[in-house]
Amino acid sequence: MNLSRLVRRESFASFISSFMSILVGLAVGFIILLISNPAQALDGFRAILIGGFVDMKNLGQVFYFATPIIMTGLSVGFAYKTGLFNIGASGQFIIGAFAAVYVGVKWTFLPGGAHWLTALAAAMAAGALWGLIPGMLKAFCNVNEVIACIMMNYIGMYFTNFMVTRTIFDSLKNESQRVARTAVLPKAGLDNIFKVGTSSSSVNIGIFIAIFAGIVMYIILNNTKFGFELKACGYNSNASKYAGINEKRNIILSMMIAGALAGLGGALLYLAGAGKGIEVVDVLAAEGFNGIPVALLGLNNPIGIIMSGIFIAYLNIGGFNMQLYDFVPQVIEIIIAVIIYFSAFALLLKDILSSVGKKYRGRKQQESKPGDTAPKGGQ
């Protein structure tokens, strides 16, 4: 079919541009490695490149780290399709995490499977609420969502700190208490696949949930009436209004869904059973902001976001392994940031690629044109 061919060509260009961005990022990262520690640069670079593939446990860890940033990436990407920039994924993420951990610690009356499911639902509801507020402010008072979201990030962080210390505090570790065993996400046998010896990876069904969320988002955006409306509002809110689409409702719903996705990400991280609790520190959750490069690198396409989330997690794992080669953590962070930074040029590169493609095709046409012997003008 004509359409599928078109879609394939379009997505092919997207893929190539993302891929080339990554290559450029890696090249620049390598240069920084050379500068900071020439002797170990090659080994360090190899550590990044093969990062997740050294053994099954590392590969598992890639998926484990990918899960939350896929979710926040989806959150940012989904809002973006409606023309909104959800910079509030951080607040939605942490508030979702708190809701999940609270349910996980306190609601022990829930039986096995229902417990973690309820915790996930609570996280989504809390995240949705954190998206709802900027959404309503945008829809009804025309408050720029970026401002509102940034404020909600701080409110979310301090509120979580406050609530954790009040309700589920473990004062020895200065973080939230462990969730009940029934609230921990099932491993579904993944721990038996992704392990080295007896040491298993923290990977769990969270990665499946994240991938599932991405697929659902893809279907919503591409196949449903709702997605049609969201995209129409995102591309041209005036025309959508003229077409009778309830733009305000769509802004609010879009922000709520984005919030729910980020909130779910928070739950998936803190219910993983990896011994991670919500720390009471005055730092915004980095996973929320990492969603932005993930979404950009994935060109806001759900499937692309899943890929880019896994890729960035892969780099992180590679970064850990670099410590073997005497790279200080700061340099590793810089290198990863540089790679992500350049990778985010994917969109720019896509434009350049397509224009170069056009020119090339144009030149070919001219050359193959018979009888065109006259000197070209304007040289």
């Binding site: 004509n2 359409l3 078109l6 196949n223 449903t224 009436k225 709702f226 049609f228 995209k231 129409a232 591309y235 041209n236 005036n238 025309a239 959508s240 209004k241 003229y242 077409a243 009778g244 689409i245 056009k358 020119k359 095709r361 144009g362 046409q365 001219q366 006259a374 070209k376 003008g377 304007g378 040289q379």
Partner: protein, 512 residues
């Protein structure tokens, strides 16, 4: 004869199309030279070459008989070539004066030296009758004034060759007259003007000679005084076009749509932008609201289509009150609506043609089942409309709307709005920015809709269009309907008087 600028045998190719093929244009000193052609005929490309934005594959440019190379707009500027672009290149939060001197500021010790610049601008403004306030902020002034600012920019740079790219597309009739006067004044002072347009009557009023392009080819250069409008249009389109659409006598039926005492207040000033407007539209007639731009037409249409609710008054469709009905209900049951700005209100440019064709109806059971879009149905429907309304796009229903020509975009809207099958069609400036062929098409469609017993309410700024199409003219002035006229009984001049508010005539409203 000496030419100030000659573009000889210019050929410019873009991948897939030849935008200009062997085009020659010769500009005399002190003349107004029109460049006529339909959208996509290659006018803008040719001018972009002259202005240094593209380089031609073949051909040469001569100034005063000397061959010159123009590599970029700075070269063009040095040669005294200036251009007023269709979309003005002004900094909106700067003053007029700041915009004029932008890029060639005079400074003393690193500080701006505005006094001399101001004197020069004022002198130019007086000399050419441009009447601009140098201290006004650009975003506060009218479009006509912004255009005069652009003209001053060129004059300030002492350009001798002035290019106007579709200068009248954004102007009101009065401003157009004003512009024509200014252009003639400039020519009389020895400036040479290239005037890009596809409006024939403007060429007749202003231009001395005219070069016609069609599909990238130069059809010829004619003296405007010796050529009739019909001949020009035939040169442009390549076939005979009827500039006046023939139509039968209207056979109006019963009233299908009426407003009563409709009033809209401006939220900030409290001024009545739409003031006590009572209209009725009957089946089988074209009612036209004529008026100078900015007299409340847009707000009236917003109230009718439901973008916002009127402050008082009622709107009725077939006896049912729809004053506060949501937009969607109106779209589905009451009206088709061709909005004034098709890019802003009519289309989602990043959607393909098919999506745009179902923009108002995608949620109906025909196109949606259980919340999922039925792609097969949507594309099948789009193909039907494309066939029926002759909409042309590179990839059929899958063409991105953004890549289609203005005429075809408008056809898509017309197709969508007519095909929904509502009894009322509200058409706001339906032919704005379209070429002759597309205008003819739209006019014919509106008349055939009327003949099929639909009521058409048209809002137009083009007086010719108003006179040709309408069965009844309502004149709007400062938000009020000040006259109800029969187009057969009045002249264009009279209509102009009503539009400027110097005459009123409402007695006949009951009778007609």
């Amino acid at each position: 004869m000496d030419y100030v600028i000659e573009m000889l045998n210019i050929t410019k190719e873009f991948p897939g199309i030849i935008a200009n093929e062997d085009v020659t244009l010769q500009l005399k000193k002190g003349e107004i030279h029109a460049l006529l052609g339909e959208n996509g005929a290659g006018k803008s490309t040719l001018m972009s070459i002259l202005f240094g934005m593209y380089r031609p594959e073949k051909g040469m440019i001569k100034k005063n008989g000397q061959e010159v190379k123009i590599h970029d707009p700075n070269d063009a500027n040095r040669l005294g070539i200036g251009m007023v672009h269709q979309h003005f290149k002004l900094v909106h939060n700067f003053t007029v004066l700041e915009n004029i001197i932008l890029g060639i500021e005079t400074t003393r010790n690193g500080f701006l030296e505005m006094r001399k610049a101001r004197e020069k601008v004022m002198e130019l403004s007086r000399r050419y009758g441009l009447m601009v306030d140098p201290d006004a902020i650009v975003e506060d002034i009218t479009v006509g004034m912004q255009q005069r600012t652009e003209i001053l920019k060129m004059l300030y740079r002492e350009n001798e060759i002035l290019i106007f790219d579709e200068p009248t597309a954004v102007l009101t009739p009065q401003e157009i007259d004003e512009l024509m006067k200014i252009m003639k004044g400039l020519a009389a002072e020895g400036k040479s003007i290239i005037f890009i347009t596809h409006k024939l009557n403007e060429i007749k009023t202003a231009a001395d000679r005219c070069t016609v392009l069609r599909k990238g080819k130069c059809i010829g250069t004619v003296a405007v005084g010796e050529t009739s409008v019909e001949e020009l249009s035939e040169m442009m389109v390549g076939r005979k076009v009827s500039l006046i659409v023939s139509k039968e006598e209207a056979r109006p039926g019963q009233v299908i749509f009426r407003t009563d005492g409709l009033t809209v207040k401006n939220k900030d000033t409290g001024k009545h932008v739409v003031n006590n407007v009572s209209i009725d539209v009957r089946a089988g007639e074209i009612v036209c609201i004529a008026g100078i731009d900015g007299n409340g037409q847009s707000e009236l249409v917003y109230a009718l289509t439901g973008i916002f609710h009127p402050d008082s008054g009622t709107i009725e469709s077939n006896g049912k009150d729809i004053t506060r009905a949501p937009i969607r209900e109106r779209n589905i049951k009451v009206m088709g609506h061709i909005p004034e700005d098709r890019h802003k209100y009519g289309l989602v440019l990043d959607f393909n043609l098919a999506y745009n064709l179902v923009l108002q109806s995608y949620f109906t059971p025909r196109f949606t089942r259980n919340g999922f879009l039925k792609y097969d149905e949507i594309y099948q429907y789009a193909d039907e409309l494309i066939e029926k309304y002759d909409i042309r796009g590179g990839q059929g229903a899958r063409t991105l709307i953004r890549s289609m020509s203005g005429g075809n975009q408008q056809k898509a809207i017309v197709a969508r709005e007519i095909d929904r099958g509502n009894g009322l069609l509200i058409a706001v400036q339906p032919t704005r920015g379209l070429d002759v062929g597309a205008i003819e098409y739209i006019h014919k469609k509106l008349i055939s809709e009327r003949d099929e017993g639909k009521g058409v309410l048209m809002v137009s700024l083009e007086l010719d269009e108003v006179m040709n199409l309408s069965d009844r003219i309502l004149v709007i002035y400062e938000g009020e309907i000040v006259a109800s006229l029969n187009p057969k009984e009045i002249t264009l001049q009279e209509l102009g008087l009503y539009m400027s508010g110097s005459k009123r005539k409402l007695e006949e409203e009951e009778k007609t």
